[in-house]
């Protein structure tokens, strides 16, 4: 029983990480039709900015409120970089899919190279607040607090995103834009402003994943964003492009599947099962769990 609880909660921790990356990716694709291969860069920016801020930002530090401040700095940095990428690189390329893919792939490669050139390719120890190094006993299992932190953070982000989409004017524009962007414009709304905001929101969530992922893994490295992005893309496709709730369901499915199969099967089999799940969903329900509509 304790093994089941442990695998479930650590699987949910992994799912939380995937959800934080995938939610923004999904909204960006759903609204702006941009397949953003540079999304992993926002995660890396968040992780490195948090890591840097813990040492250098006045008031910030590796534990307690200092870490919260460092993570907040990381989130703001991720959101700012994402907004800048949208304004400078993506905006001139809307409806030019091939060019978008080339630019975002190029940006992700250049971003990793820049991080390597600045801080080296080796993993750096990440600041871990005291509480996150411990465990909490739940159902007879000792659950790493870092996993619980990720689950709590992802649940909070999910709730905030749904409230934002459901109750704000911009959220309404985003939900409508995911359904029919052209018609939103035909109602007198400059939908491009929503694009920038969605990029910034996605960048902030990915950066939070970077900061909390650093705590979870205990280190930060330039390639971390890219490797998580692959699973985030799978989550987005399974969940349905443009659906935050779909991403949440899919992240839970992928996280739990990976964790259980890797434990009861052989290491790496979980990843193969995730790809198999992706293939099944694409065959049976190509639009994903929640289709294209944003559920709020």
């Amino acid at each position: 029983m304790s093994t089941f609880v442990l695998l479930t909660l650590t699987g949910l921790g992994l799912a939380a990480l995937y959800f934080l990356v995938a939610s923004g990716l999904s909204l960006v694709f759903g609204l702006a039709d941009v397949l953003n291969f540079a999304h992993g860069l926002f995660l890396s920016v968040g992780a490195y900015a948090t890591w840097w801020a813990a040492d250098h930002l006045p008031g910030a530090g590796p534990t307690g409120f200092g870490f919260v401040l460092a993570a907040a700095f990381g989130v703001v940095a991720g959101a700012a970089v994402a907004a800048l990428v949208e304004l400078v690189l993506i905006r001139p390329l809307y409806s030019r899919t091939i060019e978008q893919v080339l630019v975002t792939v190029g940006l992700s490669l250049a971003g990793v190279a820049l991080l390597q050139a600045t801080w080296g390719a080796d993993p750096r120890p990440f600041p871990r607040p005291e509480w996150t190094r411990g465990v909490t006993g739940i159902g007879g299992a000792n659950i790493p607090n870092a996993s619980l932190l990720l689950v709590l953070a992802a649940a909070a982000v999910l709730a905030l995103l749904l409230l934002f989409l459901r109750y704000t004017r911009v959220g309404l524009v985003i939900r409508a834009g995911v359904e029919n962007r052209e018609m939103v414009t035909a109602l007198g709304i400059d939908v491009r402003k929503a694009f920038t905001l969605v990029f910034a929101i996605g960048g902030a969530a990915a950066a939070l994943a970077g900061a909390l992922g650093g705590v979870y893994f205990g280190s930060v490295s330039p390639a971390q964003g890219g490797s998580l992005l692959i699973f985030a893309f799978i989550v987005v496709v399974i969940g349905g492009m443009g659906s935050v709730v779909g991403s949440a369901y899919a992240a839970v499915a992928v996280g739990l599947l990976q964790q259980f199969v890797n434990y009861y099967g052989t290491a790496g089999l979980g990843d193969i099962c995730v790809v198999a799940l992706l293939a099944i969903v694409l065959l049976v329900r190509p639009q994903g769990i929640a289709g294209r509509a944003v559920t709020a």
Binding site: S95, R175, A176, E179, N180, M183, T185, A186, G188
Partner: protein, 241 residues
Amino acid sequence: MNPILTVDDLSVRIAGLHILQGVTFTVAPTGVTALLGRNGVGKTTTLRAIVGLTPRGAEVSGAIRIGKQSALSTPTHRLVRGGLGYVPEDRCVFAGLTVAENLRLAERPGAAPAYDRVFALFPELSKRAKQRAGTLSGGQQQMLAIGRVLLADNTLLLVDEPTKGLAPKVVTEVAEALEAVAEEVPVLLVEQNLAVVRRLARDAVVLAAGQVAWTGAAARLLGEPELTKALLGVGSTGVHA
């Protein structure tokens, strides 16, 4: 009276197809002008060019003026905020949003939304405010699509096939609503149902093969069966307006 809309030598080429080839016509500042023609002659393309929604990559040339404003050099959202209302073919309501949310989305900044006007014309929308638009009937969706643009004051309405696919009773309701709307704002109407055209339109512009084939009074066009048949390929009767 100066026209509210002037389309001058409008050409549109999409993916190599020359869909509009020098279309020129005007729309009077009052009443309904019907834009007619057989399927595929470019009626919807004309409306979409006016509102700036031709597909990316389309080659558009010529001039379109709404009042004194050049439409081709103005982004769609600015044209709409300036008073151009567009009711697209197939309604295009947001199926996942409620009726109330569809309407709220159409509120324009800086102008009080005229919910009274919309609900007086379409009381059904008020009753179904919390219902998802995707679960409405075709007629109710059409009422929502028209109601959406009537929340704001418009200088010109573009309405594309509003009775397409609707039951005869609903066609009459939609025609009545458009008749009331046209008393306040000029309308450029694309419509296949000639009974609706006969009821609503004062002027008519007929397109054929991407060009204007005929302009004049709608009553004259529909009053001459041979002319109607030659230009539109159908008799001058329609159903239920």
